[in-house]
């Protein structure tokens, strides 16, 4: 075990290096920039055999690595917030082309007004695109997710691109110990790239030609089938990674003290650690509460949610973004998954725009929920804003 003191961004860069990525193109944006700066340093020093292509925008960044990917190369890009929005069109193109590709997103709030801090608005806005989307709780998991992303996306049952999300600053710029396996260990675990097709000039082929509605619909359905396959593949890769490197997380979700809990908190991202500390505190006071941490928001862990929620009194969802006009996106997804489970449901919006949410804040939020469940029984409260 080689422990390095790495920021979340540098952890991503190391994983990309270990995965032997061949082509990188990115446009700088806070707080992703140091991922690509580190990769440029690796390449410049001859420590990484890859090509760095400078582009003038994020739209071009994704289009460029897409081109490399369909040409057969393992490729990578990174972005955040407005950069992610700028390349949104290309996300659909990549997923629709069924080509494996990995992208890191340092989740950052969206303007106006200008905001560089973390919330999940940017990444949640990509849920419909056909990309697999995961978020890490800490730098180690972000490293592990990035490495796993190559194996998951290139699995012959999947062939879809994947986003690895990490909270802006909270993880991207925070230094913590990360175990970085050796190149030999990773080479033994991560096979050479394979994909459905490779575009080369010798064979006349076109992507994205005009298609009649029925053909288009059939193609769309196959993407959904691949997404469904991904559920299985993600669990397999998680277990396989655990055997090789000693760390497994539980697949699409991580369950923390859920089995004997009566109340469950559902959330995603770095603050899950603070939520776990709050749960420990409340457990100490006799409250049977647990955390169901969402690791993958796409494909969404419907079965896991139903399984954990059955028999519980209440499920509290804490969102770090909002889908204006309805509720927090995680709440919307969770409540749709739990339509047949009789349980109190509440959505709290916190940390939006990067507002700091600490252990004491979670204790307050969770206690309030527990008291409401005890008083009202089964109820639904879609939106409650927590603005400390």
């Amino acid at each position: 075990m080689v422990l390095m003191a790495l920021t979340g961004n540098h952890a991503v860069a190391w994983a990309v290096r270990r995965a032997r990525v061949k082509v990188i193109a990115a446009y700088p944006i806070t707080p992703q920039t140091t991922i690509v700066e580190k990769l440029a340093e690796f390449i410049d020093k001859g420590e990484m055999d890859a090509k760095m292509i400078r582009v003038e925008s994020e739209h071009s960044a994704l289009a460029t690595v897409y081109g490399a990917a369909i040409g057969g190369a393992r490729a990578f890009t990174a972005t955040a917030s407005h950069g992610l929005l700028y390349m949104h069109e290309v996300l659909w193109w990549v997923a629709g082309s069924r080509v494996p590709l990995v992208m890191a997103v340092a989740t950052r709030a969206i303007g106006p007004p200008w905001n560089i801090w973390s919330d999940h608005s940017d990444i949640m806005g990509q849920r419909d695109t056909g990309w697999i989307i995961a978020m890490g709780e800490d730098n180690q998991e972000v490293f592990d997710l990035t490495l796993q992303a190559f194996k998951i996306t290139e699995d012959e049952r999947v062939n879809l691109p994947m986003i690895v999300g990490l909270d802006a600053f909270i993880l991207s710029h925070t230094t913590a110990p990360v175990d970085v396996p050796s190149q030999e260990e990773v080479d033994a675990w991560l096979p050479e790239r394979k994909q459905l097709y490779v575009i080369d000039p010798e064979h006349k082929i076109q992507i994205g030609n005009l298609a009649l509605p029925k053909d288009y619909a059939v193609l769309r359905k196959s993407i959904e089938e691949a997404m469904d396959n991904a559920r299985k593949v993600i669990v397999e890769v998680d277990e396989d990674y655990g055997k090789a490197f000693g760390r497994r997380y539980g697949g699409l979700v991580e369950k923390y003290r859920c089995d004997d809990a009566k109340y469950i908190v559902v959330l995603m991202g770095a603050w899950s650690g603070d939520a776990k500390e709050a749960v420990d505190k409340l457990r100490g006071e006799g409250y049977p509460i647990g955390v169901l941490r969402i690791r993958y928001v796409r494909p969404f862990p419907i079965e896991e949610l139903v399984e954990v929620a059955r028999g519980k009194k209440g499920v509290l969802v804490v969102d770090r973004s909002i889908s204006f006009g309805n509720a927090g996106p995680l709440f919307i997804e969770v409540s749709s998954a739990l339509t047949e489970v009789n349980v109190a449901l509440k959505g709290v919006l916190a940390g939006i725009g990067g507002v700091d949410v600490g252990v004491d804040d979670f204790v307050e939020i969770f206690k309030k929920f527990i008291n409401e469940v005890e008083e009202y029984g089964t109820f639904i409260k879609r939106q409650e804003w927590y603005l400390r």
Partner: protein, 92 residues
């Protein structure tokens, strides 16, 4: 459509597709190559948006155009550095 296992991908080749016909019939202008001026740079082949320009197997050979599908967009003529390609009205 490319089919690999249960995976589908939106790949296609120039063939009777969405238009239901050989799209060469859409042409108003036809690209004609003057092979005396052609320097075999392959820029026309590279730029053709419909992949109807065939690269010769012999590296010393010349490109040919598949007029079954060429729509006469004129990009090949536009990029040719020696002006070897002329856009000639159909029927001439």
């Amino acid at each position: 459509m490319l089919r690999v296992g249960s995976n589908l991908a939106p790949l296609s080749k120039p063939s009777p597709g969405a238009s239901g016909s050989k799209t060469g019939s859409w042409r108003i202008f036809k690209p004609v190559i003057n092979y005396d001026k052609c320097v075999r740079c392959l820029l026309c082949w590279l730029h053709c948006p419909y992949s109807v320009i065939e690269r010769p197997k012999d590296p010393n050979g010349y490109v040919t155009i598949d007029y079954n599908y060429c729509k006469g967009c004129g990009i090949c003529a536009s990029v040719c550095p020696t002006k070897a390609i002329s856009m000639v009205p159909e029927g001439e």
